[in-house]
Assembly symmetry: C2
């Protein structure tokens, strides 16, 4: 009302609004995740968005720079959570005395990263996590991945693939190929193997031999084994690992895990597949790892990933608490679906609109409104006190297909008319007792 | 794993974890609010937690000091949202061109205030808002308050009262009592009337006359009228306002609103009541205002409140957008319920536990597990690979009342046994086809 200079209405870069169509989808996804994880015995928890910075920060890696960190009013060094994991580690440490392990958690919530915004990548995003603390390999992995697949099945309703690998298996392959290799050289190889999907085998081999001076023919052997694993050529991997007991055991366990999930999991759209080129978060994970992509939308990247970690709470506790867990990136999935959603964004609704013909019948109209809502029919009423013609115009513009007009005669007779806006047809003299059936 | 000094696992002051029992309740509340507001045609939206500070801040009042504000990595002045309203005003301003008014929104999410933590009052809390932009008085108020009452009915399942008042009505009373009173003196009186519940009539009258030098007998007249309004003594108010048209009209409208809500709203536990001592957020609200308390837990304060505001988006737009809206304080309601919840916190679950007798039958056990989950039976399996006796011990401790043991003979015959832990009774040789019925 003041004539002062107006503020520009703008969001921060990398932050997004969810308009109703998108938000309905998001709420539907979250609700499915919640229900299906509850069925599998995951317990919902929540933790604060803001924590002491020391709780949130890692060991100074790239991600630490992306943390929203500041001094609060009490001069405490605080940070917005980067993911749902660190805060969970704090939760587990604080409550270890009362929790019964294995403890299975379900949590969803926002997390914040000051990274460069990209397609489907935001500075504020919603994660949906499942974790099991204290489960043995590979039972934990089977339970976790099956549950994720059942959730993704309902959310995506399109083909997706879970790619699994084992951190120790890939390490065994490297050790077998480059005998006596150092820790740091092994890391270098891992980081470069992670580029296979992006730059291809030849470039990776060239990188390894030219830039890092690894023997070219060994590099080729390793890369070929890994790339061929995608074509289910696991026998070659097993043959190669002969004599390397840990590696062979890990491969066998991986195959058995995949087999059990294939045979028991209820997912219609999901497949699970061993892929030795799946190399992720290697500082963090210590056992099986997995990544999921939508089959015809691989450009959207991993939509659900995780793995086994040795010690969740090591920054807080001496006690070892190992677990297996993962996240669904709800916002990324929504972004992948958004184009298709927008195509349907014609305003059209199953809701019923109640037009008020005379002001004095408004109380009665509100009664009918509540009656409909009670019977699970979405219903709205004229809230602008407009003329009847305006009300119909509004209902049309807002996409209502059914309009009930209420005037004095309707109030006196208790008989109502429903107008079907698309056909113009009217259904007359419906008793209130029959109204719900007519509208369903 | 390292022997470094451990970090203390601690939350920030005023922040809370939600353990499973509490979180289940919270998710149930949010889902009810979501469903019931959807039925009433409220559209869900979401807005960012972090905004430019100028979007969030008011005009330098007390609340501005409670904002979590900082410079982000791009040196922008940013703030965590203080409530869901300012961010909504920005949303409405940015999208005014495409929204169809009246626009009804539903939004829930976290908000942050660096205020002193108290019982049921946290620095991070969840709000659940309904607003209607562009609705006429009092249709908007009726739709909004009825919907809130329907939601509170389901969430609280105990008696509550919505106290309504009108800002202009109270202003008319003051103007009638103190002819020619200044704006700022009127504010002083309002602020002091707000203390009636806490310090009582006599103290307020003394304050007004001693400290602020208002005429004692006029102050008493005003205070008596307001306090007596609680006993439905509205005729006295109407008589007093005789000749003051606006005031009389506002009182009539208020009574009519209450009457319509009483007659149409479906709430079983909720009452609505005019109470002229309900004085809130007066800088912000311009029409009807309301506050809700739980009848036998008034000590928990207002759990749902709001009112009509003249111009939501004035800081962004010249266009006037008036609305009516309110918030449910979900965390405060949870806090009010938490003691009663804790009484039931014996670990006991309807879930089924699957014990694995022999490792080689584990794949089959996972199959049964998925079968149960598919049929909406919450089911868990041994994930620790323990001996059978240990598994039973664990199931007992975790509160499972039904255990299915799966071994080689079960796998071969397809017949399963269910053990009821409380009675020790066993039900034997159940075919898989009958299993779900047995467990329901």
């Amino acid at each position: 009302m003041t004539k002062e200079k107006k503020i520009k209405a703008q969001k921060l870069k990398g932050f997004q609004d969810f308009e109703p169509l998108l938000m309905k989808k998001k709420l539907e996804f979250l609700h499915l995740a919640q229900n299906l994880s509850a069925l599998a015995g995951y317990e919902p928890i929540d933790t604060p968005s803001l924590e002491y910075t020391e709780t949130i920060l890692g060991e100074g890696g790239e991600t630490d720079k992306q943390v929203f960190r500041f001094k609060d009013n009490g001069d405490r060094d605080v940070a917005l959570r980067f993911d749902l994991t660190m805060s969970f580690a704090r939760y587990i440490s604080e409550n270890q005395g009362t929790l019964i392990f294995p403890f299975k958690r379900f949590q969803y919530g926002k997390a914040w990263r000051a990274e460069k915004p990209q397609k489907g990548r935001f500075r504020e995003f919603t994660q949906c996590d499942l974790d099991i603390i204290g489960a043995a390999p590979y039972s934990g992995e089977i339970d976790l991945i099956s549950t994720f697949m059942n959730i993704l099945d309902q959310i995506l309703k399109e083909d997706f693939t879970v790619f699994v690998n084992h951190r120790r298996l890939i390490s065994s392959l490297i050790k077998k190929t480059f005998q006596g290799i150092s820790e740091s050289d092994e890391q270098t190889i891992l980081i470069n193997l992670d580029k296979l999907d992006k730059i291809g085998s030849e470039s990776v081999i060239r990188l390894l031999s030219d830039k890092f001076s690894f023997d070219t023919s060994s590099s080729r052997t390793l890369v070929d084994l890994i790339v061929n694993s995608k074509e289910d050529n696991l026998k070659a991997v097993a043959d190669y690992l002969k004599g390397h007991e840990t590696g062979i055991k890990d491969l066998e366990d991986l195959k058995e895990t995949v087999r059990i999930i294939e045979n028991s999991c209820l997912s219609k759209f999901g497949k699970i597949k061993i892929d030795l080129s799946t190399v992720r978060g290697l500082g963090y994970y210590t056992g099986m790892i997995f990544e999921t992509t939508i089959d015809h939308h691989q450009d959207f990247g991993a939509i659900c990933s995780g793995g086994r970690y040795d010690n969740l709470a090591e920054r807080f506790l001496s006690r070892q608490l190992s677990g297996v867990g993962g996240s669904i990136g709800i916002d990324r999935i929504l972004a992948a679906k958004v184009e298709r959603l927008n195509n349907h964004e014609t305003p059209s609704t199953d809701a019923v609109f109640i037009a008020v013909a005379e002001e004095k019948t408004r109380p009665y109209a509100f009664k009918i409104l509540e009656h409909l809502r009670k019977h699970k029919i979405i219903a709205n009423i004229d809230l602008k006190h407009q003329k009847l013609a305006q009300q119909f115009k509004w209902a049309n513009r807002a996409g209502y297909k059914k309009v009930i007009t209420i005037g004095e005669s309707e109030r006196q007779t208790g008989l109502l008319n429903v107008k079907y806006m698309e056909t113009g047809q009217q259904k007359k003299d419906i008793a209130i007792a029959d109204l719900v059936n007519e509208l369903l």
